[in-house]
Amino acid sequence: GIQVEQSPPDLILQEGANSTLRCNFSDSVNNLQWFHQNPWGQLINLFYIPSGTKQNGRLSATTVATERYSLLYISSSQTTDSGVYFCAGMNRDDKIIFGKGTRLHILP
């Protein structure tokens, strides 16, 4: 089945730093999404981005479907950005497949 790989697996940054999280997928996926799981366990939708680029405040995302990757950019990190970031895509069997996540810890 399709593999969704996220990198880096862990990231520790100082408040104010910028970061780029990457998601590679082994086969074509549809409906790529980025989620933030906060320290309370909630899965928060960040972007629905099958292709192209979107921005929302300090966050932006780019998906290049033909090259099977997506990037999530976080600028001017804040401690509230800490948590796990997941990308997920839908495979040919219409299952939403998640990556293993990037654990981000922002230090004050």
């Binding site: 549809n30 366990g41 899965l43 629905y48 839908m90 497949i97 996540g101």
Partner: protein, 113 residues
Amino acid sequence: DTAVSQTPKYLVTQMGNDKSIKCEQNLGHDTMYWYKQDSKKFLKIMFSYNNKELIINETVPNRFSPKSPDKAHLNLHINSLELGDSAVYFCASSQVFGGTEAFFGQGTRLTVV
């Protein structure tokens, strides 16, 4: 208004018991899902329903039985709970099957003792 809501948020129970988790979505979506998140935070699909019909049934023990009384609700019943069932269970919905953005509930943390 919460788009996808699950109850209860926490559930602690003894081995061998039977328990249910309820999920409701008020988004008017046709498709609903159950996901399991293990201790390593890995999220894996368990079931998917489209308009009350079972579409996806992953390799899940038959002690787990989903029930969809209408397209706004997808409940998960678990029989004879085992220690290994301890996890966080997420319900989700999307507008149509095979497309569009999925929205997740807040999760139910199940602990089997």
